[in-house]
């Protein structure tokens, strides 16, 4: 806290103390002589109202609960730092290109070089810089994750709201869900990747295809529960439009769920990408991605001296997924009004 903040806070507390004094009759009457004390006092109707429990605000309590969780704050910092670094890394000085194959002075490719001062994470089996490739791969994988998460949140929420709010659509969507819920996500992912050409678009498409339905289902259940609560019935009776009820009364309640799903969609997208790459229907090998890096590392992992090629990408991946998982869950916990005690 800097000096100005400190001053502001001091002033604030002095002022509010003054204010409280002028309001509370205790301060005004405490020093009166005994006979005076038994005189009738003035009834102040505003004072009667003022003493309620009003120091609660939803977002205030949510943020307070979140920031009280030191582990979550730590991982939030980790995410922020990693994200920022991932995207500014190519702009830093002395960075190598992720796709260039490096040769030594005699023109031979520098393959499987252990980490040193020039190649911080070493080089891979064809002489590319693993440090640059790791961060480029992280960018690709995070991009896929973000795209899927946004799509899921957007379409899932939209369909979920329609499904839950428009009674006529309920039966239709429920049947649809019952059918698609029977098809394992992994199978859809495999099928789509198998049928379509490998590429970033295919993976995003395949992941989007399955995720939103679960999200919509979740939102729908919540909406059905909240929709007919008394305050919404009252609001409808007063003539509030449906759009306004949805955006003002329903969606704020769902923010925690939506954030949680978004935060978890990213690690799961990264995991799925690693998986399809392993099966051989993932991204083409010339696009650096965490899946490709892990796969390349797997091929050489039986040699202990080359194990770094697996461990560096794995470590970055684990840091990102674990942080997102923890932050997402902690935020959802903090945003749950039941935990605001």
């Amino acid at each position: 806290m800097n000096y100005r903040d400190h001053k502001t806070r001091q002033l604030d507390s002095v002022l509010s103390e003054e204010l409280r004094k002028s309001c509370d009759p205790y301060e005004a009457y405490r020093d009166l002589p005994e006979d005076e004390l038994f005189q009738p006092a003035q009834f102040d109707s505003s004072a009667a109202e003022r003493r309620g429990y009003s120091n609660y605000s939803y977002w205030g309590a949510t943020l307070q609960a979140f920031f009280k969780n030191r582990i979550a704050v730590f991982f939030l910092a980790v995410i922020v730092v990693t994200l920022v670094f991932t995207y500014i890394q190519p702009l830093l000085p002395d960075q190598k290109d992720p796709k260039t194959i490096y040769n030594d002075a005699s023109g031979i490719q520098i393959i499987n070089r252990s980490p040193d001062s020039e190649f911080w994470f070493g080089t891979n089996s064809i002489g590319q810089d693993l440090w640059a490739r790791t961060w480029a791969g992280t960018r690709t994988s995070l991009g896929i994750g973000f795209a899927v998460a946004c799509f899921e949140a957007l379409v899932g929420t939209l369909v979920g709201v329609l499904w839950g709010y428009v009674r006529k659509l309920d039966a239709f969507f429920t049947e649809l869900y019952n059918i698609f819920d029977n098809v394992p996500q992994t199978l859809v992912l495999i099928l789509i990747s198998y049928i379509m050409n490998p590429g970033v678009g295919t993976i995003i498409f395949a992941l989007c295809l399955t995720g939103w339905l679960d999200m919509a289902r979740f939102i729908r259940n919540q909406i059905v529960i909240i929709r007919d609560r008394d305050y919404n019935l009252a609001s409808r009776c007063l003539g509030t439009s449906t759009a306004r009820i949805v955006t003002k009364n329903l969606l704020p309640y769902l923010v925690s769920v939506i954030t949680l799903r978004m935060a978890l969609a990213i690690p799961s997208a990264i995991g799925n990408e690693v998986f399809v790459t392993y099966i051989g229907i993932g991204l083409p090998t010339d696009i650096p991605s965490l899946g490709n890096l892990v796969q390349a590392g797997r091929l050489v992992m039986s040699q202990p001296s080359l194990r770094y090629q697996l461990l560096f990408p794995t470590a970055v991946l684990a840091v990102i997924t674990i942080s997102l998982y923890i932050v997402g869950n902690s935020f959802a916990d903090a945003a749950d009004p039941r935990n605001h005690v």
Binding site: L191, Y194, I195, I270, G271, V274, V294, I322, I326
Partner: protein, 317 residues
């Protein structure tokens, strides 16, 4: 109760038909190379003849109808590349036992470890140090957050080094069973523990638990005969599905350890582009999935008297 079962089974049958239809409709979009063992060498005329013979140029409904009829006779068609002309049903019959053996052991392990862990976590929520809750949470976070494709790999790598066992599976060497079984059960352990804990914590905040405490029931007995008993109900719905899927073998673990099971088979079929084999396996997985959800709902009806009474479908999730 009987009425509910009949209704639920019929519902599953219809769902299954639709699912198979969708799966086939998608699968028939696969590149046609996958229907030939030697695509580069055959002429265009031969291709057309073969496609016609396989019924691939009929309207989709006809194709699906044919396929369903075949399925009813337990016939999955014939493999194209994996073992040319060999009956797929026979291939699966050869591969299934090993997957089921390993699956059964790992599910047993998961239930034996996961459920007690969940109970220990829920019971320690209200204690001072929350040891089990913290321990379990760390485990859950790691297993849930890190993609399974990565931790399976690390278990294989470091497990084989630490215990000095082979990275590859061999039927006769019992030590090579340990790592894949552990790997397979880890996901289920965490899954059971996580949900059991959550359901138990939810239940323990309900009014009837307060009444049970007011009755003077000792807390151990409350935990056992009220909290656990009621928390297991929503979990029971998912257990058949997770068991069936483990029995079907994990795509990833089986191929990592070269276990000659069904999961590895699908990965292999995809890699060599054997369309009929992929089709058969995907349809089989869909059937298993539908059957798992059906079993889950029926099991839940057995455990929860309210369901058979109201005749409503059990709520999912």
């Amino acid at each position: 109760m009987a009425k509910y079962i009949v209704k639920r089974v019929l519902h599953s049958m219809i769902t299954l038909c639709i699912v198979i239809f969708i799966v086939l409709a998608l699968l028939r979009q696969m590149p046609i190379e996958g229907y030939f063992s030697n695509f580069d060498k055959v002429s265009k005329a031969q291709i057309a003849v073969t496609l016609k013979k396989l019924g691939l140029q009929d309207p989709l409904f006809v194709q699906v109808g044919h396929y369903m009829l075949q399925l009813l006779h337990g016939n999955f068609g014939r493999s194209i590349k994996y073992r040319e002309g060999y009956s797929i049903a026979k291939i699966i019959a050869q591969k299934a036992p090993i997957s089921i053996e390993i699956g059964l052991i790992s599910v047993g392990l998961a239930l034996l470890v996961g459920l007690p862990l969940g109970i220990a976590m829920a019971n320690s929520v209200k204690t001072k140090w929350k040891f089990w809750d913290r321990f379990g949470t760390v485990l859950i976070v790691i297993v849930e957050a890190v993609p399974s494709a990565v931790y399976h790999l690390l278990i294989q790598l470091y497990g084989s080094e630490l215990f000095g066992v082979s990275m590859l599976f061999s039927r006769d060497d019992i030590t090579t069973w340990l790592l894949p079984i552990f790997s397979l059960s880890l996901g289920n352990i965490v899954y059971y523990a996580m949900w059991l804990r959550r359901f138990m914590v939810d239940e323990s905040n309900k009014d009837y638990i307060r009444l049970a405490r007011a009755k003077g029931v000792p807390s151990k007995q409350i935990s056992r005969s009220h909290v656990f008993r009621n928390a297991i109900v929503p979990l029971v719905q998912y257990i058949p599905n997770s068991i069936l899927f483990t029995l079907m073998g994990s795509l990833y673990v089986e191929s990592l350890y070269s276990i000659p099971g069904m999961g590895g088979l699908l990965v292999q079929a995809i890699k060599i582009q054997d369309n009929t084999l992929v089709e058969a396996l995907v349809v089989l997985y869909s059937i298993i999935s539908v059957a798992g959800l059906l079993l889950g709902d029926l099991l839940m009806a057995v455990f929860d008297p309210r369901i058979s009474f109201t005749g409503k479908e059990g709520s999912r999730r």
